[in-house]
Symmetry: C2
DNA sequence: GGTGTATGCTTACGTTGTACGTGAACATAG
DNA sequence: CTATGTTCACGTACAACGTAAGCATACACC
């Protein structure tokens, strides 16, 4: 009998680079960066570790693939409205992408080379094009891109990594760690006073707040109007 | 003869937590985060790996120690002038600290708990106090802190991680990697046009530019004056 | 002296990334 | 049909990792 037309004798689907990277990304989202291990990914796709090397050259390559894959999730806003509106949409989309895979920022940070993937670069192209619509010079557009990009990345880093006490205490839990002890010592009065606000502030609102600051600064500087 | 008063029979200086963390930080600066290994640090301080555990509970603890140590390098600007000037000094000092240990951002990013060390929190205290001097409400001050902090971290992350092509090509080197190939394909015209600016712009100037945008936005919003 | 308490060394175990060799499935050429 | 080359998965093996456990040494205080 012919080997096809039989569902049972095709025990495993053909492995591809995409399937490998997808599995790795899923593991990273669910269990953190350090859980992304060649053996763990292999197990996820039902294969031995060494078989992955037919589709990625390294673990490095795998991680690069994850970065590119994440950026490929970027959904380009339409560019019909004025550049400020498009910028706002683009920025919040960028933040959405980063937040939907919160651990990818750690990857970005530890990777010291720029992205080369076309998929990963297209959001940058979009951003530069949109900023360019504001009518400033190329050089200024690049500056604005760096500033905005930095703001977005840093903001998401702070809100999801919460490195400065952002979400330590849920609501009013007394925060069992030693931070309370430090605060109780009376030093850091401003931090102590800020804690409830750190816990309660709506991140979306904060993000928009900072973005508006930047946009307002741009308008004030260049006399641009929305 | 007595065992003291002889320089030769005191073969090693007493190991301390600080010496361990210093060594780890030095290794991280010189060779990257992944080079910070218990055995490597031990070798650096002239000891076997397991001896480090007398001074740090974990590798985790060691890395936390590095984070705290880096923040402890923060040199507090004087707070005599107006709050805008102090903010500017504080921001550039914060950037200086991060840039002088460029790999620490990867640590910050992969660590999902807030800092609890007093040393690490004092720059935050300083920042909140300075922002508070502007006269806005506590809640707004926290927002401004998050926005400024995010901007600083993100900017440094982009400028030292150069994830978006920032420093790929030194001066006018033709960039041997595959990025050129992608660009040559005609897609990404804005990125292609931006590349020389990405390579040539002065980071200090860019940083000040973004910071001024934020400050200008604040002034415009709150009607604050320098 | 003795006796704890730090501190360091050694050995050992499980897990990591990956180099290397084997073998099955398949395409194409003779 | 057989021969041959390519692709892909498997299995074994090794060095380096974090660290648990046990033992050795040195100094503080009685």
């Amino acid at each position: 009998m012919s080997p096809k037309a039989d569902a049972a004798d095709k025990p495993r689907e053909r492995l591809t680079r995409n399937r490998v990277i997808d599995a790795a990304l899923q593991i990273m989202d669910a269990e953190g960066v350090e859980a992304v291990t060649m053996r763990r990914v292999a197990r996820e796709v039902g294969v031995e570790a060494m078989s992955l090397y037919n589709h990625v050259t390294d673990k490095e390559d795998l991680l690069d693939g994850i970065c590119a894959r994440v950026m490929a999730d970027f959904r380009f806003p339409d560019e019909d409205g004025d550049w400020v509106a498009t910028t706002r949409h683009g920025a919040s989309e960028w933040r959405r992408v980063l937040k939907s895979h919160p651990n990818v920022l750690a990857l970005f940070a530890e990777r010291n080379k720029p992205m080369t993937d076309l998929d990963a670069l297209m959001p940058m192209e979009f951003a530069l094009r949109t900023i360019g619509r504001a009518g400033m010079g190329e050089r200024e557009a690049v500056q604005v891109f760096n500033v905005m990009g930095g703001y977005i990345m840093g903001f998401v880093m702070m809100e999801s990594g919460r490195m400065f006490g952002g979400g330590t205490m849920e609501k009013d839990a007394p925060s069992p760690d030693q931070m309370t002890h430090v605060l109780a010592a009376g030093q850091l009065p401003c931090v102590a006073a800020a804690l409830p606000h750190l816990a309660n502030c709506d991140p979306d609102e904060q993000f928009a707040f900072g973005l508006d600051l930047l946009l307002a600064g741009l308008k004030a500087r260049y006399g641009l109007l929305a």
